[in-house]
């Protein structure tokens, strides 16, 4: 086991070095992150640096810790009471795992989109306005603008503009997911985390969301978990491969899919397990 860890660490370091050669700024830097659910060691020595205005994909077999990792980035993982964390996660240079870091502030800058579309059982308008409202924006005019802008940003404005006051649960799954993306956009986050955002969607909706992600990367940094390797290959700039709670390999997406340096990455990508 320890051999394996060494290997993966080595490859991670490689990729980090190559990342540093980029001109792009780093938004998230994860250092020696370990996470336990009670006794279960779910993340082991994670080291990753994630760039601004890129799409970073996280792939790996079920249970490898993808969701756990992405939820650690906005400290959502703390909703599980038994969680213990060690290591550092620097977001824009500050360690978010410090007690003094306000999770609410963090989550205001880091939006999240979940696997299953989870709109609030409210009107579409109220779904989008929710974030701005809780952050103190009450002005109806500004809210109107935010709602429109966010829905346009999520490429769903035309679908819903005539029924903003209807319950979001009346929409199709794909539309709901884009409303959830719009909801995340409404508070103009810096980073958007997406945990398998298309796995509950049909192929056409999936395509739309994928296009949207490509679009959004201009303004946002995006970290996306996906089961679907084709998707990762299509939309991401970098890809991290997780296995058993470890990062096996992290590199340019092209490289990962054409010329992985780790045997296990290759096995996974070619469908030999997972």
């Amino acid at each position: 086991m320890s051999v394996v860890t060494d290997k993966s660490n080595a490859s991670v370091k490689d990729t980090q070095n190559s990342a540093k050669e980029d001109t792009k700024k780093v938004v998230y830097e994860t250092k020696d992150l370990n996470l336990w659910y009670g006794e279960g060691h779910a993340l082991k020595n994670i080291n990753l640096a994630i760039n601004e205005n890129e799409v970073t994909a996280i792939i790996g077999p079920s249970g490898c810790g993808k969701s756990t990792y992405i939820k650690t980035l906005n400290r959502m993982v703390e909703l599980v009471p038994t969680v213990k964390i060690s290591g550092e996660i620097l977001y824009r240079g500050r360690n978010i795992l410090e007690k003094s870091y306000q999770v609410e502030d963090l989550r205001t800058s880091v939006g999240m989109v979940f696997q299953k579309p989870n709109p609030f059982p409210k009107s579409i308008y109220d779904n989008i306005a929710y974030g701005p409202k809780i952050h103190g924006i009450r002005d109806k005019k500004i809210l109107d603008e935010i709602v429109e802008k966010s829905l346009r940003g999520a490429a769903i404005w035309d679908d819903v503009k005539d029924r903003l006051n209807q319950n979001a649960y009346g929409l199709s799954g794909g539309q709901q997911q884009r409303v959830c993306i719009a909801r995340a956009l409404a508070i103009e986050p810096d980073v958007i985390l997406m945990d398998e955002p298309t796995s509950a969607l049909d192929p056409i909706s999936t395509l739309k969301v994928e296009e949207l992600v490509q679009e959004l990367k201009k303004d946002y940094s995006i970290i996306i978990v996906t089961h679907n390797m084709q998707q990762a290959a299509r939309i991401s700039d970098k890809t991290a491969f997780f296995l058993n709670g470890e990062v096996i390999e992290f590199a340019e997406t092209d490289k990962i899919f054409s010329n992985p340096s780790d045997k296990r990455t290759e096995d996974y990508i070619t469908g030999r397990f997972g």
């Binding site: 502030d105 701005p132 952050h135 924006i137 500004i142 429109e148 409404a186 508070i187 103009e188 810096d190």
Partner: protein, 324 residues
Amino acid sequence: MKGVFFVAKGVVHEHDQNLNVREIIQEKKKTKSFNNYTEKFIPKILFGIAAISVFTTIGIVLTLLTETIAFFKDVPFIDFFTGTKLKPLGENAVFGVLPLLTGTLISTAIAMLVAIPVGLMTAVFLSEYASEKTRRLLKPILEILAGIPTIVYGFFAFTFVTPLLRSFIPGLEPTNILSPGIVMGIMIIPMVASLSEDAMSSVPNSMREGALALGATKLEVTWKVVIPAAISGIIASFVLGISRAIGETMIVTIASGSSKNFTFDVTQSMQTMTAYIVEVTGGEAAAGTTLYYSLYAVAMTLFVFTLIMNMVAQYISRKFREEY
């Protein structure tokens, strides 16, 4: 229309440049210290609210306890619990709680004699024999029965069941413990039925199948497999029923009169602990007298009885949940 739409669009576009939500939020954040206060205080307030239910219990116990202690200064503990004579009023007041205890226990026994068999058989029918459709029809009707106020049952006992019983039990007193006991039983049927049914429905089907596959009839499956497997849930329902019967007030107050007979003859009028409380508070309850304190001693006895029953029921059903 089109024009308006375009204008609106234009406005949005214009704002797109200067509407910076992120900045607005940062701005608002500075004035958000109020929010921090709410975050801190809300849990404390809610804890305070949750504690009120505990204070209610403490309040009940304290009120009962202080006055009960005062009572036992006037009336020796032993005399109270072994006294067969209760004559709370007048010069030579005597406070023996046994007449009330027998009244309570007898009415409870009668009620359970009605509620247990009928409730259990109803539960068996609903859980084992009835089709889904029948069950869905009958259960709400039973729930209606459970939702009828006890005063209505009291009226029913007094104006209907007692005269009916007197027409074929000649010795039956105009107020007696039998009629309210029966009506109390009817009132408790839905409770026993629904809790027992829950217990039986949670017996896995595989056990029924195991028995049926041996050529057992439904009755044999029910009697030898389902009921034994669900027994703790069923017993818990009985115990809760008993607790309910002990605490029931209006039916006995109306239909059993207020004679403090120490007897086991169900055709007689008897008083229960609950009815005694109603009688004494409805009449004289001037503070400081032994009569007044007796109210609390009786209420305390009642409280302890029902508390024990409820604890037993909780214990049994908790054990039940661990079984499979």
